[in-house]
C-alpha cells in the first residue's frame, strides 16, 4: 500500500506551540498524509507515502525546522 507509518524522536520541543508548528509544517510536506507529535514523549508519528518521500527526508524536514530528529522506525 502507499501508506506507511513512521516514528521519529524529536528533540528540542518544550511547548505546545512547538508541537503545533511541527504538526502544521509537516502536514504541508508533499507525501505526508498526517503528522501527530506528542510533547511528553518527544515522539512524532507520521503517516506518509513511501513513493513520494523517504523516512530520512521526513527527519530532514523536521531538522530543517530547527529541531533534532532521529528515525525510530
Amino acid at each position: 500500500s502507499d501508506r506507511k507509518e513512521l516514528d521519529i524522536a524529536i528533540g528540542g520541543m518544550t511547548c505546545a506551540s512547538c508541537v503545533n508548528s511541527i504538526e502544521g509544517g509537516m502536514k504541508k510536506v508533499e507525501g505526508i498524509y498526517n503528522a501527530s507529535v506528542t510533547l511528553t514523549t518527544g515522539r512524532g508519528r507520521f503517516v506518509f507515502n513511501p513513493k513520494l518521500i523517504t523516512p530520512e527526508k521526513i527527519a530532514e524536514e523536521v531538522e530543517d525546522m530547527g529541531f533534532d530528529a532521529s528515525v525510530i522506525g
Partner: protein, 74 residues
C-alpha cells in the same frame, strides 16, 4: 555588500521555539550569517549578515512561524 544587522519579528513563544530558530541560524553560519541575537520576550531576531533580506526571511520561515522584516538596526 557590507554586512549589516537586520531586525526581524519572529512569533516565538518559548525556549523551544527560540532554540529552533537558533539551530536554523547556526546552520546558516557557513553561508553568510556572521552572528545573530534572539530576544525571546520581544519576539525579535537580529541577524548580522551580508545576505539579502529575502534570503534571511526564507531562512527564518523554515521555522514555520510568522516572520516579519522590521528593518536594518539603527
Amino acid at each position: 555588500m557590507a554586512s549589516q544587522t537586520q531586525e526581524f519579528f519572529v512569533d516565538m513563544t518559548c525556549e523551544g521555539c527560540s532554540g529552533a530558530v537558533t539551530r536554523i541560524l547556526e546552520k546558516q553560519k557557513a553561508n553568510g550569517v556572521n552572528s545573530f541575537q534572539i530576544d525571546l520576550p520581544n519576539k525579535k531576531v537580529f541577524i548580522d549578515s551580508s545576505l539579502p533580506v529575502e534570503d534571511l526571511l526564507a531562512t527564518l520561515q523554515k521555522s514555520k512561524k510568522e516572520v516579519k522584516y522590521i528593518g536594518p538596526k539603527a
